[in-house]
């Protein structure tokens, strides 16, 4: 009787062992074969926090701070850690509405329950402080420090450019960027992106279920430190830039000033411009759209992208080419009878004494003189055909940096346009064009398209009497990185240096000569300014006012080009603006005698007059 059922011990033991075997198999599966849970564990307890490096700072040539970083906070949310919270309070603290909360939490959930998603971008320090005090009421939320670009001087928007978060396209193309990183999108920010961006770091924290940080993962073994971006010192003179921007208010056009002895860009203005602080942070896209739709195209950087006809300033080039080609000397005289008349073609000229020699032709800016010069260049008997002589001419022209990239470090510069002979072949048919057909090139009209930067570079070449350094905007990079060596190379034109002095003398007369000088308004008593006016015919409206100059005549410190759209004669707006810029740069002030001129410019409104 006692052991009647003792065999049942096997059944009972069997059940126990069977269940244990099932458990062992299950454990083997959970712990060894299935990786799903290992991944979940990482999301669960580790929070990788990206540490965005501060972008490099940007200074002007005198160490005036142009760009710095302001701290802001991104509010992040981890959906699976959310608990019931007071939406009214959250909406109030963050200054958002309830729909925003609902929408963004849903969005975050769609992305991932375990990974942090961006909930609200770029909260100011002040709002963040208020939120931080209440953070414990909002489990599942946390703040991540970010920075925003700030522009204390509010100038040079086109030069500096702007940054934005990387988009999908960049993420796919460049693996070194992660979602949420900033990237330079234009200007210096873009051109020097690799210098400015620094290196993103990351920290892995252990967090508990309440989202509280409980320490570093593996004592920070897998953390990487964020390395701040390198700082840039620009060649820009902030004071001159600000002054120029003020002069350019209510005018459309551009000013570019270069230090001839180095190619350093002192000022680069495109007008109308905008406060760079507008394209920062949350307000960026809204303001960007506004600027994009503005009919005056403030986002368009005229200084490097506008292809303007150079007008009479181009006569200097033709004079130099003429001399180089031995079809013109200092003492060549041409007559002018209110213009150039040849074979049914007339190029008008204003009334002045006649005949003129080369220097006088520059001083007075005689159209007729340069039509003759240009015709003698193109009809030069040394070249069998017009095409050949035209190509020779074009070669000289491009050696001044026209019709090709200057290769400056200004992002997105344009080539401008100097037509090739094939262009005319196509336009007029081969051998059906001659010097007379393209005579407008003599006076810088016609198809020529020159950017203000190229014009300033031309002024720089005149100042240097025959060579230039590539205009550039960055002077120094922190951390022992040197700027590109190409900015230290002298680029010579194809014109012998000896011919420049005549032209420069002519340029001196333009301002400092007697009656008939076209730009006496630009005269500064203490400084010998050399310049050349230009007035470009504009089929769409009033002529453009142009002036290029450098000063002082000997050992020049500044070369400048000013282009005022619809400003009329070169001497009306461009010349006074250039002379004010030169005076400001060289003497640090505007003399009392010329205050009236400054006021005239400041009050000049060429936009609403249109």
């Amino acid at each position: 009787m006692t052991n009647q059922y003792s065999d049942r011990k096997y059944i009972i033991s069997g059940i126990i062992i069977l269940i244990s075997i099932i458990f062992i198999i299950r454990l083997l599966y959970l712990q060894v074969f299935d990786n799903k849970y290992k991944l979940s564990a990482n999301n669960n307890s580790q929070r990788k926090v990206i540490i965005h490096p501060p972008r490099g700072l940007i200074y002007d040539r005198n160490n005036t701070l142009l760009v710095y970083n302001e701290a802001t906070y991104d509010i992040m949310v981890i959906p699976n850690q959310l608990q019931k919270f007071d939406t009214t309070l959250l909406a109030d603290l963050l200054n958002i509405d309830k729909d925003y909360i609902k929408f963004n939490i849903k969005k975050a959930k769609n992305f991932s329950y375990y990974k942090p998603s961006l909930f609200l971008k770029q909260l100011s320090i002040k709002s963040y402080a208020r939120f931080q005090e209440n953070l414990y009421k909002f489990l599942g939320f946390f703040a991540q420090a970010r920075t925003l670009r700030k522009y204390p001087q509010k100038i040079a928007a086109h030069i500096l450019g702007y940054v934005g978060e990387v988009d999908k396209k960049i993420l796919e193309k460049n693996k070194s960027y992660k979602q949420g990183d900033y990237i330079g999108l234009s200007g210096v920010e873009k051109y020097y992106e690799n210098i400015l961006r620094g290196k993103t770091g990351s920290k892995i924290f252990l967090v508990d279920v309440h989202n509280r940080i409980r320490g570093n993962y593996k004592n920070g073994k897998y953390d990487t430190i964020a390395i701040a971006g390198n700082n840039l010192t620009l060649t820009l003179d902030a004071k001159l830039q600000a002054f120029g921007e003020k002069l350019m208010q209510n005018k459309i056009g551009s000013i570019v000033a270069i230090e001839p002895s180095s190619g350093e860009i002192l000022t680069l203005i495109s007008s109308p411009n905008y406060d760079p602080n507008l394209l920062v942070g949350r307000i960026r896209s809204k303001n960007y759209r506004k600027l994009l739709l503005d009919s005056l195209k403030p986002l368009f950087n005229r200084a490097i992208n506008a292809k303007y006809p150079p007008g009479s300033t181009f006569k200097l080039i033709n004079a130099l080419i003429g001399m180089q080609e031995n079809v013109l000397t200092e003492n060549t005289y041409y007559t002018c009878n209110h213009g150039y008349h040849f074979g049914g073609i007339t190029v008008g000229c204003h009334g002045h004494k006649s005949p003129l020699n080369l220097k006088e032709s520059i001083q007075i800016s005689c159209n007729s003189y340069y039509c003759n010069v240009f015709k003698s260049i193109i009809d030069n008997k040394n070249y069998p055909t017009t095409t050949q002589s035209y190509n020779a001419w074009r070669n000289y022209v491009t050696s001044f940096g026209f019709g090709r990239y200057l290769e400056s470090d200004i992002y997105d510069e344009s080539k401008g346009f100097v037509p090739k002979s094939t262009y005319y072949d196509k336009y007029y048919k081969k051998n059906h064009w001659s010097a007379l057909t393209i005579i407008s090139l003599a006076i810088g009209q016609g198809e020529l398209g020159i950017t203000p930067l190229q014009m300033a570079n031309m002024a720089s070449i005149m100042a240097n009497r025959g060579f230039y350094y590539i205009p550039h905007i960055v002077k120094k990079i922190s951390g022992g990185i040197s700027i590109s060596p190409k900015f230290e190379v002298k680029h010579f034109t194809k014109i012998n240096e000896k011919y420049f002095s005549t032209v420069v003398d002519g340029m001196e007369l333009v301002i400092n000569g007697g009656p008939g000088s076209t730009a006496r308004i630009a005269k500064i008593d203490s400084i010998i300014v050399c310049g050349k006016t230009g007035t470009a015919q504009n089929p769409h409206g009033k002529d453009h006012s142009i002036f290029i100059a450098f000063a002082p005549k000997d050992n020049p410190k500044i070369a400048i080009a000013v282009y005022i759209e619809n400003g009329g004669f070169g001497a009306t707006w461009a010349a006074p603006i250039a002379s004010l810029m030169i005076e400001k740069y060289l003497t640090k002030k505007i003399s009392k005698k010329r205050k009236y001129l400054e006021n005239y410019i400041l009050n000049g409104n060429l936009i609403n007059k249109k």
Binding site: T2, Q4, Y5, S6, R8, K9, I11, I12, S13, I15, I16, I17, I19, S20, I22, F23, I24, R26, L27, L28, L30, Q31, V32, D34, K36, Y37, K38, S40, A41, N42, N44, S45, Q46, N80, L206, V207, D208, V209, H210, R214, G215, Y217
Partner: protein, 474 residues
Amino acid sequence: MRQTKNNILQKIDWITVLLYLTLVIIGWINIYAAVYNTSHKSILDFSQKYGKQLIWIFAGIILIIIIFTIKSRFYKFFAYPIYIVTILLLFFVLLFGREVNGARSWFEIGNFRLQPAEFAKFATSLAVAKYVGSFNFNIKKIKNLLATLMLIFIPVIFILLQNDTGSALVYFIFILVLFREGLSANILIFGFIAVILFILALILKIITVLILILAIAFIIYWLSQRKLKNIIIASSIFTAISLILWIIKHYGNINLSDSYVILISFIISSVYYIFYAFKNNISKIYSFVLITLASLIFVFSVNYAFNNILEQHQRDRINNLLGIKYDPLGTGYNVNQSKIAIGSGGFSGKGFLQGTQTKFNFVPEQSTDFIFCTIGEEWGFIGTSVVLILFVLLVIRLIFLAEKQRTHFARIYGYSVAAILFFHFAINIGMTIGLAPVIGIPLPFISYGGSSLWSFTILLFIFIKLDTNRSDLI
């Protein structure tokens, strides 16, 4: 045959004691790891759980010494009084107890808390052992069986009233003890199947349960028939029919759930099975098909009733009854977290104190009910399988020893100990790996808590004491 008293040390079953000590030490190490915190490093920090557990362990050793000094005869003689005192304690705790986590099951005296339900296990075991082991007892007599069940259900009712469902469910395991003592195997099998199916129907997806039933049915059929050809034909027919039905459903855009497809397929297949049974005159198949069909329909009805007839609050109550704990973050959060913790341990674990899941409160009750997560996370598969094997060894050893007892009382008590320990570790570990419902019962010897450690220690060591007098007829 009489041995001298100072030989008691020789008579103690040291294998069991060693298994016990190993589990207790493993438990303490993992409690230390579960609540480890750099600001409380000292193992003697009695403000921390591991410090307190150390006290419980030493107090447990004193209990063991006391148990050994008491004569074996005493336990049998005082089995009923101990039982009655325990029932009274269970009654008083309802009146004067303190509520912790929604269960009014604690006596609180100063800083000291005691949970009578834990002690009711050994008291009930003693009483059952005494009654079932008595000379006149015959389990086939309904009267005797009912009396036994009453002994078991009185504490269950009190514990349920305390709202401590987990501890109450433990008493169902006495069915194993009664089975050993002659309870009809059919009751065990049917009861077991019904309970399993009921629980599975509620915690698993219906389709999973259906497939499980069918798989088991085919396997059992194959085991009983030993004809591979038949079983392949039978299962192929079923598979083919379900496939056809599924394709019709899928391309015919018929709104029918996959579980119905399986049910209908089996009904259609049954026609063939019965025809086959009729033709070959195998009567076994009839009952077999019938049982399988009944199981399928049972699962369907449970599922349907639960989801369609019951109201939400009733469902919650059943979940509650099953010990499926209220889940603040959605279904299965705790189990999921627990699986993540265990799974993240990998083969060899993250190392002592290196666990992140358990330490940072992802897993609830990490030092008590979910202590197995810490073991899994920090010691990996090696750790979990070692602990599991230790438990199996302990329980099998207890069964082995129980079978060697000369008295019914000692044998039944031994089986009770083995069964209770088995239920605890199976449900506790099963719950952490998602194979059992979340029932808040501790892992014996390992989970943090004085009451639980002491009650298991008393439970086990009374048997070890009884075993030292194995050769005596008491």
